[in-house]
């Protein structure tokens, strides 16, 4: 992983994290919005401007790639690089969580 990707994506935004988490399976933008709403009991509502920008940026950076189009919705899936970034983030968040519970 080159330094640029690491600098931009670790740590990453909540939006970015949920996108990668959801794209371990094929999905389109709006299904990610719905999935995240479900996962967070409606507390996190991703919005289209943010989603569109993040998806195209992640595609450009090679974290996800385009699979096919269905009814004008672009379906993506995570790439190996994307998985690497997601793993780094998961480890970071696990450490954060562990430290939080220990100190509390």
């Amino acid at each position: 992983m080159d330094a640029h990707i690491k600098k931009v994506y670790v740590p990453m935004t909540e939006t970015g994290f949920y996108i990668l988490l959801c794209l371990r399976q094929e999905a389109h933008g709006y299904s990610i919005v719905q999935k995240v709403q479900e996962l967070t009991n409606g507390e996190i509502k991703l919005t289209p401007g943010t989603m569109y920008g993040s998806l195209s940026k992640m595609e450009k950076d090679g974290l996800i790639h385009f699979v096919r189009e269905e009814d004008k919705r672009k379906i993506y899936i995570i790439t190996d690089l994307g998985k690497e970034v997601l793993n780094l983030e998961m480890k970071r968040i696990e450490r954060l969580y562990k430290n939080m519970t220990e100190v509390r």
Partner: protein, 181 residues
């Protein structure tokens, strides 16, 4: 037959927040935005006053893939209105939002990313033009008997400088506003 109204308003490059507020206020006053033409005239038709959020995005990538771009917004309940000099216009009634003010961006990173896209898409072409005028100005200095032309270039350069200063301040104010929210 609904009454119609046209309003001439000019918003500069970095004024999209003001423009959104202007359109929302018109709707609250019972004037629904229908279109904006190339010389900056806004068209409205009379409607029931309503709280509607208007939002502008600036996304060249989305413009190049119009269908899927608009689909993403309509899936989320945003009505696509039109494009104007690189901006795309959307609206959504507050009554369709589950509690509170929804926007098309949900984090600061993406708000700032949009600002950068505006900067790249609108300001860089102006900067290139600015550099051209600077070069042209210095060329006139070497040409005898062209004080009028030199004066013209000085005028253009000063106007441009004032404009850039104003944009710079607005971008900075927007940046600070996002960060402080």
């Amino acid at each position: 037959m609904n009454r119609k109204k046209t309003v001439l308003r000019y918003f500069t490059i970095a004024d999209w927040k003001k423009e959104e507020e202007f359109l929302a206020k018109m709707h609250r006053d019972g004037w629904k935005f229908t279109s904006l033409n190339f010389i900056g005239i806004y068209h409205f038709t009379e409607c029931e006053p309503d709280n509607v959020v208007y939002q502008l995005d600036f996304n060249p990538d989305g413009m190049a893939h119009k269908d899927e771009y608009v689909k993403m917004f309509s899936d989320c309940g945003w009505e696509y209105l039109q494009d104007y000099v690189g901006y795309s216009y959307f609206r959504k009634p507050v009554s369709q939002m589950n509690g509170g003010d929804e926007e098309i961006f949900c984090d600061d990173e993406s708000r700032i990313e949009m600002m950068k896209r505006v900067f790249k898409g609108r300001l860089i072409p102006l900067i290139i033009l600015y550099v051209y005028f600077i070069l042209a100005f210095f060329l006139t200095l070497n040409t005898p008997n062209s004080p009028v032309l030199s004066a013209f270039y000085v005028f253009v350069l000063l106007t441009y400088s004032a404009m850039f200063l104003s944009f710079g301040l607005k971008f900075y104010a927007y940046y600070k506003d996002v960060k402080n929210k």
